[in-house]
């Protein structure tokens, strides 16, 4: 009851700021993805426009989707649910707003610097040193705000969502620093094989120790509330949490199985990739058993619907990920479009879906108004779902064509005409996802600023 009374005087400025950040940058990120996909389909489209070439657009797409769309959306939800779960207020809304502003300044710098060609040239770690520092500071500010909220809590027990969000934020700040070699500002890199090992330690952990914990935190909060049922097992959720931290940190080297890194490191990466089944199934069994018999309720709530779909995609992408770490499978699937399909299931299907679910779930609470349009949110859901499943199908087929052809000794360029139809389809699906981002932005803006209706109590 206390929380409900307090809720009326809280501004939720930080949650609103991160939510709006996510919605705006989803438009930019998906547009960059669409542009990149169009360039693969029609390479001369941006001929002689240096700042729009594929090599610059792709890192903008990846970094903006990662740090502009998914992470702020999940943090927006976290800044709502963490104080609720701890029966207190957020430590400092002012600090939160400053963080949101700093975050957006960093994102603008990301787009400008990458389009101008300033890059470290390392996949997923392209950002130059000054922006690296801005990113680390932004995560540190989020951590300070959340950990001080924990310190001021009235609820003695930390619910598993709080564990996940705290771990996700601090682990990312540290692995980001290490992976971007911030102690070497000029290059942002080590030399040779150690750099590759370090890069993929970071490259995989930025998904496993940022998106996964933040998305799990949202899921553990939203699903019991939508179902109006307690979590199936809190003990199991903590087992999954600690197992994720222990297992996930070792698997980055499975991207380097065909590279001369030490064999023991490859073995660890493969074994732990398979062992990922433990935290993944601990999480999914817990969520699905909580939702048992409540599927209708989940799909009646737009937030729950997005989040639950994200858990199904998590199941799929995790099994696929473990499988891909097997050397015999990887010989066919690695370095081609299969991996791109896998990444889209993970980031858009799992983390992206849960991000949108988290936003739509908390919006009525932080604005104290109903969602502007349930129809538009449903439309966005189906556009994202169809786009994402379509990506999976066409990129998997294109990847298998490439992989098998290369194994048979065929050269890269002779395969391109064969996969061209799939690139065309991929661009069309990208257009659907971009349109969904525009719809989502309108719906969220309308809910925040133009909706005059009051929430039903």
């Amino acid at each position: 009851m206390t929380a409900a009374i307090d809720d009326k005087i809280q501004s939720h400025a930080t949650a609103k700021g991160f939510t709006l950040t996510s919605a705006c940058w989803m438009v930019v990120g998906t547009f960059m993805g669409l542009l990149g996909a169009t360039e693969l389909m029609a390479p001369d489209l941006t001929e002689n426009i240096g700042w729009l070439v594929f090599g610059r657009i792709r890192p903008v797409h990846i970094n903006i989707v990662l740090f502009g769309f998914v992470t702020p959306g999940l943090l927006g939800a976290a800044f709502y649910y963490v104080p609720r779960l701890l029966r207190t207020e957020i430590y400092s809304e002012k600090l939160g707003v400053v963080t949101v502003i700093a975050w957006n300044v960093a994102l603008v710098a990301v787009v400008i610097s990458l389009c101008m060609g300033y890059t470290q040239g390392r996949e997923y770690a392209e950002l130059i040193w000054p922006i690296d520092i801005m990113v680390v500071i932004a995560f540190a500010l989020v951590f300070i705000n959340l950990v001080m909220t924990v310190k001021n809590r009235q609820e003695p027990v930390l619910y598993v969502s709080v564990w996940y969000v705290l771990a996700g934020v601090i682990l990312t700040a540290t692995t980001y620093s290490l992976g971007n070699v911030i102690w070497r500002p000029n290059s942002g890199a080590l030399v040779g094989i150690p750099d590759a090992i370090l890069l993929w330690f970071y490259g995989h952990n930025v998904f496993g120790l940022l998106l996964t914990p933040l998305a799990a935190g949202v899921t553990y909060y939203v699903i019991p509330r939508v179902c109006r049922a307690p979590l199936y097992s809190h003990t199991l959720s903590l087992v999954g949490f600690w197992a994720l931290l222990v297992v996930y940190t070792h698997i980055g080297t499975h991207h380097l199985l065909q590279v001369p890194v030490p064999t023991w490191l490859k073995v660890i990466a493969i074994v732990d990739s398979i062992a990922m089944v433990i935290p993944v199934m601990a999480f999914l069994i817990n969520i699905w058993f909580t939702a048992r018999g409540k599927l209708g309720e989940i799909h009646a709530d737009i937030g729950g619907k997005f989040v639950f779909t994200g858990t199904i995609m998590y199941f799929f992408v995790s099994i696929q990920g473990s499988m891909m770490a097997l050397p015999d499978v990887q010989r066919v699937t690695h370095f081609n479009n299969w991996v791109v399909g896998h990444a889209h299931i993970g980031v858009l299907g799992f983390a992206g879906m849960i991000t949108l679910g988290g936003i739509y779930y908390v919006l009525p609470y932080i604005t104290r108004k109903p969602l502007y349009s349930r129809f538009l949110a449903d439309l966005q859901y189906w556009l994202v779902l169809i786009g994402m499943v379509g990506f999976t199908v066409v990129l998997t087929i294109a990847g298998l064509i490439q992989g098998n052809a290369w194994l048979n000794g065929e050269v890269v360029y002779r395969i391109l005409p064969e996969i061209h139809p799939y690139y065309v389809t991929r661009a069309a699906l990208g257009l659907m996802v971009f349109v969904s981002a525009l719809i989502g932005l309108f719906n969220i803006l309308a809910t925040l600023f133009f909706n005059t209706r009051e929430a039903a109590s």
Binding site: A4, P156, V157, L178, H234, L238, G296, I312
Partner: protein, 86 residues
């Protein structure tokens, strides 16, 4: 020389994890797990539950079918890779 960075990271990581674990045990984070299950529900649900429909349920089953189809396709790739990938 890159080992010092790795070793310091691992050492700091272990130290922080250990401190957090000890703090968690001391503050009873692993006790009373039954009560912890209900924590998301202790706050009032001030938005009324949306109405469910048969279509909502069917939609969920369709999603499961989609996931199973995807898993089936992945399994086919796995088997094909193991049989013909050499």
């Amino acid at each position: 020389m890159y080992f010092p960075y790795f070793i310091s990271y691992i050492t700091v990581g272990f130290a922080i994890s250990l401190v957090v674990l000890i703090w968690a045990i001391k503050t009873g984070q692993f006790k009373n797990q039954q009560r912890a299950r209900f924590l998301p529900l202790t706050e009032e649900l001030n938005v009324s539950a949306p109405k469910t429909s048969r279509f909502n349920r069917l939609e969920t089953y369709a999603l499961f079918l989609l996931a199973i189809a995807g898993l089936g396709a992945s399994a086919a790739v796995l088997i094909a890779a193991l049989l013909h990938g050499k």
